[in-house]
């Protein structure tokens, strides 16, 4: 819609000067590490794995929840969580990590570090003899191939501590110790105690650091990344994974509902892994998926008969996209195909369309 024509009525306009005025451009909020989506203008952050970003429609929208159904031995889903946190470190986002199994400090020590692009690495080494002139056509070819690489740097599996200069602050790391809480007699809560404590600490962090816009912006706005490991497992005091008719069958779903509310009202992204292969009740799993926004499931071939299947010899497992969100718009990202497989090479976790 053009800007209203001003000063045309009754006056002979000066020759070639047009009376259309350019509308002042709205100031876009620019937070480091985020970019607006091309479809609906949502603010997106990267999940740490560039091919996963592509599969879920460009990235994770701020204010949403990514649910990862763990594979059988929780190896690849744990790695996805670490990539998610490492991406947060590199972008300078705040991190919140909760784990009931490993101590969060140990997880933080093992975050992968980003790799440097190989072409840039060649230019840095000045003193060494570079294979330049006789192989000029080859170096040109390499440069052309790297042009098509996605912007996000893939990560290595190096066990170095996070060397990049961005200091991160793991704001609150909560690990549940159920025995501590049982000493006090508490009234009946809608949530069991570990979930209640976790939710309370997430809310405190969001309020205190101003992610929900409640405190006046004295500093640059930032995004909070929440990584919640293995929710629903027995270590969180929840028996939805071990019984057919659990006593707390609504605990995890109530927690996810409250977390959804917290995420929608603040600048935060959450990644939650759930051991879905242990949950016997399929109805509960369906509800958990519907309460999250993006949901993927990892199925690794390790230990199953698919490991020796020649069809899958290049891959380590299958990736199922269970749900994609429709945020602020009617339609959602519709993937081309649903046959996706992943493989973990030394430097990269890639997701591809499984051939055939």
């Amino acid at each position: 819609m053009a800007a209203p024509v001003s000063g045309m009525a009754g006056s002979t306009s000066t020759g070639n000067a047009t009376s259309f005025q350019k509308k002042p451009r709205r100031k876009l909020v620019s937070i480091p590490g985020t970019r607006p989506s091309v479809q609906n203008g949502q603010l997106l952050v990267s999940s740490g794995v560039s091919s996963l970003d592509y599969v879920i429609g460009g990235g994770l929208a701020v204010g949403t929840l990514l649910l990862v159904e763990e594979d059988r031995y929780d190896s690849y889903s744990h790695m996805l969580l670490r990539y998610f946190l490492a991406e947060g470190v590199v972008c300078g986002h705040e991190l919140f990590l909760a784990s009931a199994r490993d101590h969060p400090d140990e997880i933080v020590q093992e975050l992968p570090s980003p790799i440097v692009d190989d072409v840039a690495g060649m230019k840095i080494s000045e003193g060494q003899s570079q294979p330049s002139d006789p192989e000029n056509p080859d170096t040109m070819k390499i440069a052309w191939r790297y042009q098509n690489q996605p912007r996000v740097q893939p990560f290595t599996m190096d066990q170095q501590p996070p060397a990049p200069p961005n200091p991160f602050t793991a704001l609150a790391v909560a690990s549940a110790h159920p025995s501590f809480f049982r000493f006090q007699k508490r009234p009946l809560l809608p949530l069991p105690v570990p979930y209640h404590a976790l939710l309370k600490s997430i809310q405190t962090v969001i309020r205190k650091e101003g992610f929900d816009g409640s405190t006046p912006q004295s500093k640059v706005r930032n995004v909070l990344r929440l990584g919640l490991h293995s929710l629903g497992s027995v270590l969180w005091g929840d028996d939805v994974c071990c019984k057919d008719n659990p006593a707390h069958c609504h605990a995890l779903t109530t927690f996810l509902y409250a977390l959804r509310g917290l995420l929608r009202t603040s600048l935060s992204v959450a990644m939650v892994t759930v051991p879905s292969h242990l949950i016997q009740n399929r109805a509960v799993m369906g509800r958990i998926i519907r309460l999250s926004d993006t949901a993927i499931a990892l199925e690794s071939f390790r230990g199953s008969e698919k490991e020796t299947n020649p069809l899958y010899k290049d891959y380590h497992g299958l990736l199922h996209v269970r749900q994609l969100p429709r945020l602020n718009c009617l339609s959602c990202e519709v993937p081309d195909t649903k046959d996706l497989a992943f493989k973990l090479k030394r430097k990269q976790f890639t997701i591809e369309v499984s051939s055939q």
């Binding site: 609906n40 009946l188 809560l189 809608p190 949530l191 209640h196 939710l199 309370k200 809310q203 008719n245 609504h250 779903t253 109530t254 509902y257 409250a258 959804r260 509310g261 917290l262 929608r264 009202t265 009740n281 399929r282 109805a283 369906g286 509800r287 519907r290 309460l291 429709r326 945020l327 602020n328 718009c329 009617l330 339609s331 959602c332 519709v334 081309d336 649903k338």
Partner: protein, 270 residues
Amino acid sequence: MFPELNSILNSTPDSFKSSDFILVSDRRADASFLIHHHLSFYLRAGCKVCFLGLVQSFSHYSAVSQRLGVSLAQAREKGQLVFFEGLKNSIGVILQEDTSQETQPLSYLRTPGAGLEGLFRFVERSVRQSGDGYAGESWGPPVLLIDDLSVLLSLGVSVGAILDFTLYCQAAVCSELQGNVVILVRCEEEDADDDEEGSNLLQRGLVHQCNLALHVEGLPTGYCRDIHGQMEVWWRQGEETIYNQRKIFHFKVHDKGASFFARGTSSAVL
């Protein structure tokens, strides 16, 4: 508002059936686009709308309705729309810090075994308010929209309590005030093991109550990029028709609407 859906259902904002109880359900698909259709439809028709938004924030519905040509913020200011923000207000109740009167509708979160009486009182108050917009205009018959009802099952409310709630709503809105009710229920697969407390039971109970049922599912032949699913429309027998009518359409959801077509006539196929 989707014009093609209006012609399928034989209704326009100027003339639609009153005292209608419409059930929108889906199975492993997403039928929320139909809720957006009904929201913009009834706002255009000038009805007083009470919307229980239990799973998404107000800004989500507002952004979608903007594309469909209706402004929710304006409607809320004028008093035409009463929006219940379930998601935002529930955190305080779940963490037990907010015990004020405003969270009375969310009493089902405090004690998981409780019923939905608080929520019903809220609905009753909202639809019975006489039209007192600033210009003194009175609105049309009241409409209750719920998105979505099956999330209450995830929060620990029993199927019986939810069905009681819908009966009370039907009595108050449809029978007394000649208004309409539109409810979204999301279901599991048909062969889920525990059906006693499942969403399938809820959906079956509501199908018996409703006049019109719209059921959205994926295509039975598998995933397709161009056809997003199929929608089954089921009309209960009325004054003119002797038997129940049932029709199936395929649909595709766009940015600004949805197109419906008869089976096999999608542009991808022809």
